[in-house]
């Protein structure tokens, strides 16, 4: 029995109302590990042979929530949500921090696969006794806050009927109205302000009428290979994480002023600029007025980079959200032309409660605002004016998109598909204003200044497109941080080299090393993900010669700031991309070669890719 794993996965068919338990072969676990990697393998096994025909919002798609062998043992417990992405038509490993991950393992499961579609809204309740499909009619339409409160109470009271004394709440993954209405880039939410945001898996849950998955376990965590070593490493890694003073003190929420002013890579007004000097948008303005809890963590984490904000006065009194983190500060702030901290805290709470992904919908709303700026979308199209900086207008728009009302119905398709539709409607090319890569809206770290961490091909070469948590660089280091973190399923902010690799060996008993992971497992997982992207469909396909590229905006020179005039250089991008593909063992257009497939044990992909090669 592989160690670290609970040993079984729930397999739920919502159409039939049938639940089974699946045990995967040891070799599969060793080759794909867990989380992102394992989800990709499961998706290939079940849907690979007709991938292009699978409708991500249809009953055939799978909604997968998987832990990995390190989850709950190593700091930063997370779960990886996956499936066929309604945005990229590929596979994204979309992770979020949540006690759900630990509770699932404590209940005796490594993950849950959901197929089919329930006739009416349901939620799943997973305990040591198994999995139950429950009616969620009373939860459908509810915001994040309401869902958490109601489900916590319901499950707690049920547990209290069969046990003595007060019982604790379950871990929950849920969707808000955005996911329910199949907003294509909607998030899977947890703990009010945590989101599995990239990939649009909230829409997949919505398409299955699946409101939530709750788990509460009473068993110990699974056995590990070397318990005494794990105990020692557990103390050691926490001591190391405690040293990360700045991250613990401020989290990423200090980025709102800093990233713009220093590295000039923060989106401003739909990426028309990447620099601003709004000092009142700095960290202290959030910290001292809004932070009510300066350290907040998820299971087994000492980094505690999360802080909780609450607005105590005025019209938005009672809004609760996280600090906000850098991404939402940028995407619901400067990218919408908003530079007032209270406005951003409010929008963050709105977005969280609706179950939107702040990054992705922030991108789409800014896209709409730029079209309004250019007179392409009018007040008549929208029903109101959409000026930069108008927080009320964006608040209203976010609600319209979540309910698919009016123009919201088009924008709910995500930036790329909305751009296609609006181009058609208005007879003008608006794709040039869409800042996405392979359908996935780009995270708030631009590449034009060259000062931030994503490389010129960070998004362009990545099978996860605009996902800033998993950018490509050298087919080596880039595997260690995100691909491993997403598959072990632990928080990348708790990554520590060499302790995480020692921990991995002590938990699983396998011969895992950074080098082996980066040259073998990581490449295997990424190559499988690349195959999905190449196959695409059914509504949208990516052309390797055109779509493995940065958004047009990144080739426009920065108009302001200390790096004014800088832009992505096409020649550099092309060269670095070709070199990256070669390092991955793919041809110069990004198609995995037959030799690479063989080396990685993925020869079964060859028949599907061979016609794509030149």
């Amino acid at each position: 029995m592989p160690r670290g794993y609970a040993g079984k996965i729930l397999d739920v068919d919502l159409t039939e109302g049938r639940i089974r338990e699946v045990k995967l072969p040891w070799k599969t676990l060793e080759d794909f590990f867990g989380g992102r990697g394992l989800a990709a393998k499961i998706l290939w096994d079940r849907l690979g042979d007709h991938w292009s025909e699978v409708d991500p919002l249809g009953p055939e798609n799978l909604l997968i929530a998987l832990t990995g062998p390190l989850t709950a043992f190593y700091p930063g417990s997370r779960v990886c949500v996956s499936g066929k992405s309604p945005l990229s038509n590929g596979v994204v490993g979309s992770t979020t921090s949540t006690e759900f991950a630990m509770e699932l393992k404590a209940a005796g499961y490594d993950g849950v696969i959901v197929s089919g579609r329930a006739e009416k809204p349901v939620y799943l309740l997973i305990t040591d006794e198994g999995c139950d499909i429950r009616d969620a009619g009373h939860l459908w339409g509810k915001t994040g806050e309401e869902t958490i409160r109601l489900l916590n109470r319901e499950v707690r009271e049920e547990l209290q009927r069969s046990r003595r004394g007060p019982q604790r709440e379950p871990g929950i993954l849920y969707i808000g109205p955005a996911g329910e209405n199949r907003v294509r880039n909607a998030a899977v939410m947890t703990k009010l302000f945590h989101a599995a945001g990239y990939g649009g898996y909230g829409a997949v849950m919505g398409s299955k009428n699946l409101k939530a998955i709750a788990a509460k376990g009473f068993s110990p965590l699974p056995e590990v290979a070397a318990p005494e070593t794990v105990k020692i490493l557990w103390r050691e890694v926490h001591r190391e994480l405690i040293k990360r003073d700045r991250m613990r003190r401020w989290g990423t929420g200090y980025g709102g002023y800093y990233v713009a002013a220093d590295t000039s890579s923060e989106p401003v007004r739909n990426w028309q600029e990447e620099w601003h000097d709004e000092r009142r948008f700095g960290g202290p303005n959030f910290q001292f007025r809004f932070w009510v809890k300066p350290y907040h963590a998820d299971f087994n984490c000492t980094t505690s980079c999360m802080k909780i904000s609450c607005i105590k006065t005025g019209r938005w009194k009672g809004d609760i959200t996280d600090m906000p983190d850098y991404e939402l500060e940028a995407y619901l702030g400067p990218n919408l032309g908003i530079f007032n901290p209270e406005d951003v805290v409010h929008l963050s709470a709105v977005i969280d409660n609706l179950g939107h992904s702040g990054i992705n919908i922030g991108n789409t709303m800014a896209f709409a605002a730029e079209l309004y700026q250019r007179g392409i979308l009018t007040e008549e199209d929208l029903g109101f004016k959409l000026e930069w900086g108008d927080v009320e207008a964006f608040d209203r728009l976010a609600h319209m998109i979540a309910r698919r009302e009016g123009i919201g119905d088009i924008l709910a398709e995500g930036t790329y598909r909305a751009a296609l539709k609006i181009s058609e409607m208005k007879g003008v090319d608006v794709l040039r204003y869409a800042v996405h890569v392979k359908g996935i809206e780009v995270g708030a770290h631009g590449i034009r200044s060259g000062r931030d961490y994503p490389t010129p091909i960070g998004y362009a070469a990545s099978p996860q497109g605009g996902d800033h948590t998993s950018t490509t660089r050298d087919a080596y280091e880039d595997m260690a941080w995100s691909v491993f973190g997403d598959s072990a399923v632990v928080c990348s902010f708790c990554y520590h080299d060499p302790l995480i690799w020692e921990f991995a060996r002590a938990v699983t008993g396998w011969d895992i090393s950074k080098h082996r992971w980066c040259t073998e497992h990581g490449r295997r997982i990424m190559t499988l993900q690349q195959a999905f992207i190449l196959l695409g469909g059914p509504d949208v396909y990516w052309d390797p010669d055109r779509d493995f590229d940065n958004p047009p905006r990144f080739y426009e020179p920065l108009p302001s700031g200390p790096y004014k005039g800088m832009k992505a250089d096409r020649e550099t991008v092309e060269r670095m991309k070709r070199e990256y593909f070669k390092a991955m063992g793919w041809d110069e257009r990004g198609i995995p070669t037959r030799e690479t497939l063989q080396r990685l044990g993925l020869s079964y992909l060859d028949p599907y890719l061979q016609d794509m090669r030149r």
Binding site: Y326, R451, T471, R473, W481, S492, T519, E579
Partner: protein, 84 residues
């Protein structure tokens, strides 16, 4: 012989974005980094968080600091990965 160096991240403020570097006989990454460190007035170390690529490949996969350079090679210096 000459190599092209692209510099990303904070180092670019000291070295500029793009340099053509003339190197003498038997040029290696070690030699290049020494040269660049002198120019930058700061030590550039592979274990200090900087990723060094030669024609897209991480030097850790080639010969490490002893990786040999050829005329026309593209060397890229990258800051550490992060994200959030």
């Amino acid at each position: 012989m000459r190599v092209r160096v692209l510099v990303f991240g904070e180092l670019s403020t000291r070295l500029g974005w793009s340099l053509d570097v003339e190197m003498g006989e038997a040029p290696t990454i070690r030699g290049l980094l020494k040269l660049l460190s002198d120019r930058a007035g700061a030590s550039i170390r592979v274990d200090g968080g900087v990723t060094v690529l030669v024609n897209g490949r991480n030097v850790n996969l080639l010969g490490g600091l002893d990786t040999e350079l050829r005329d026309g090679d593209l060397v890229v210096l990258l800051p550490p990965l992060s994200g959030g």
